[in-house]
Amino acid sequence: MTGQTPRTRRAIANLKRICDEDLNGRYELQIIDVLEHPEQAETEKILATPTLIKQLPPPLRRVIGDLSDKDKVLLGLDVWPRLPEGERDSSA
């Protein structure tokens, strides 16, 4: 993210929702502010934010935007949440 902007806040809120609802606590999240750590922007080749990078499990995937479309985010990250037994549809 790039500092505290409305976009940052929206993205973090959406991300929290996804983590809570779909990942069931099985995740590790690192939030990097490229204003505070410009070298990270260079290393990771961040052109714009909010950018979400899924490092593990491979493959490495990157998603950019406001993260509000949960299904698209998961699709872009190549993450398939396991549906609990008996539940049919997890999409909002």
Partner: protein, 687 residues
Amino acid sequence: MSEKDTRTIRPEVDATVQVLLVTRTGESPLLRLRERSRFELDLVAGVAEAADRLCRDPADVVVIDGNAPPEPAELERLRDGLNGATLLVLADDFAPGFAPLMEQLGGAACLLPASAPVAVQAQMVAMAADRARLLAGLRDRVAELEERTHELDRSRARFQDVIERNADAILVVDGEGHIRFANSVAAALFRSERAALIGSPFGFPVLLGETTELDLPRNGSSLVVEMRVVESEWEGEPAFIASLRDITERKRAEEDARRLIREQAARSAAEAAAARFRFLADAGTVLSLPLDDRETLTTLAQLCVNDLADWAVVYLIDDDGLLQRIEVAHRDPELADVADALRDYPLSPDDRHPAQEVLRTRDPLLIPHVEPDQLVQMTRDARHRELTEQLGIASLMVVPLVARDRGLGAIALVSASGARPYDADDLAVAHDLGLRAALAVDNARLFREAQEANRGKSDLLAVISHDLRTPLNAIMGYSDLLALGIPDVLSETGRQRVDRIRMSATHLLYLIDELLSFARLDAGHEQVRLQDVDAQAVTRDVAAVLEPLAVERALALHIDVDSPSLELRTDPDRLRQILLNLVGNAIKYTAHGSVRLAARLVDGWVEFRVSDTGIGIAPEHLEHIFEPFWQADQSQRAQHGSTGLGLSVVRRLVQLLGGSVKVDSELGRGSCFIVRLPQRTTEDAAA
């Protein structure tokens, strides 16, 4: 563009073969070909003509006589004008003159054996024609393809232009999130080379709706960019076309505009609040003026109409306890008649009129938007409703008039147009106004009652004074006669007793005067008659009256006037009353020693000092002694026989004369009363 580029070029097998035959003589073995329907023969006399003819009518095959080689120049012209036709030289062998031409023509020319059978000749001519045709076809095809390529190039150039001239940065992002294309605006936006961007990771774009916003980090701060994404294709694979627009300025302008609106709203709210306070302040000022009932109500109604309402109604409870419409004021003078008509319209006690309700509950009522059915409920009949509608009723507030816990009536405030519906803040102002107004109305009423009571009191006082004096005068009259020895001379004891009667009667008269003075002063009816008064004369008069009393109590009485010509403009009777009171008190409360009356001029004030060597006054009593009916202890009252009104009368009188009185005292040492009166007064201050 969807046609396949590879297309087999096949000669048309059954097409007619066009042959241009050059024969000087008009004779030729090839004329036999005419027998076959495939061949169409055209004859020309020479090579030059053949060249000309080819310009107008292209042929598939040109046949020249091998035995008569043309001039080199003609041959060149022919060569240049072949237009794809195949050249056949009819001979069994190439004559020498043909050699160079044949070299140049290569596969475009061939020997047609003159002695070959016609079938063979026909076959060879047909083959030559096929070649020509194939060539022509190929040429056309090539031209077509070239045209298409140019068209494609132009088209690409146009699109490129569109993409480049686009003000937005455009990226093509593949399914893995990598950039496959970037326009120059994008390169500028990301401060990178286009080549560097290609292949860079961007991300799988995720947005809800048509656009989303991104932050671009830029030296310690960031740009805001709006991104729009459409799904598309790139080189046969699914891809995204993202266009990005720098909206940092727009966002800043939006925030500025929002802030401006917030500031303006705050300013408006503050101004509205200030206006309300101003209104209340004005109202407070107007209502605190002394007015009678009627005036107060008119003023009140007008007050409301100026700022707060288009028209207002004041309701009051009359003597029978019924609510009446007392005053109706409308902003528009042309509606004054309607206002009057409404005022005079009867209001019965069982009406469900808002004023009745409000008075009963003592709670204010606010109707921001008056609905038609509400109007029907509020009015008692069609005429009432009509009058109300004529005056206009869009928004309504009714507040109670309650003062000193008594319900007096109500005020209704009406906004005639819907443009400015009343809100909670307006109601607060109206409620406050109602409370002040109620107080003002109640005060006006009390004032009137007090005035009437005062009138009553004065009349009573006059009667009492007369009724009390008459017998007293009789007592004093008869005692005088007895003292004079009328009808009989009295014995010594008798005389003493008569003297005591006289003294008591005099004292009683004095007390009555004091009481009357106080009462009159209290009622505020006293007038002051100003004269030029000689201080010395007044003090001498006072001394003369009280000298005997002082002598009787073995006290020295000193008179001390500063200068012989000390004059002041005041009421001499009142001044005498004041000094008599103070000096008399001094004498009464001093057991032994002296009493002193002094007068002097200090800064335009004449100061009278009455000092004694009496018992003094305790400090905690000092502030009370000028109060009516107050005495340090009851025993004193009994002893001195006074009403306790003396000093309060003194204070009132002093105030009446525009002056002041105070006391200094010390227990056991004595007291000193100081009266200051202005030497010169203005006429109206003494009124």
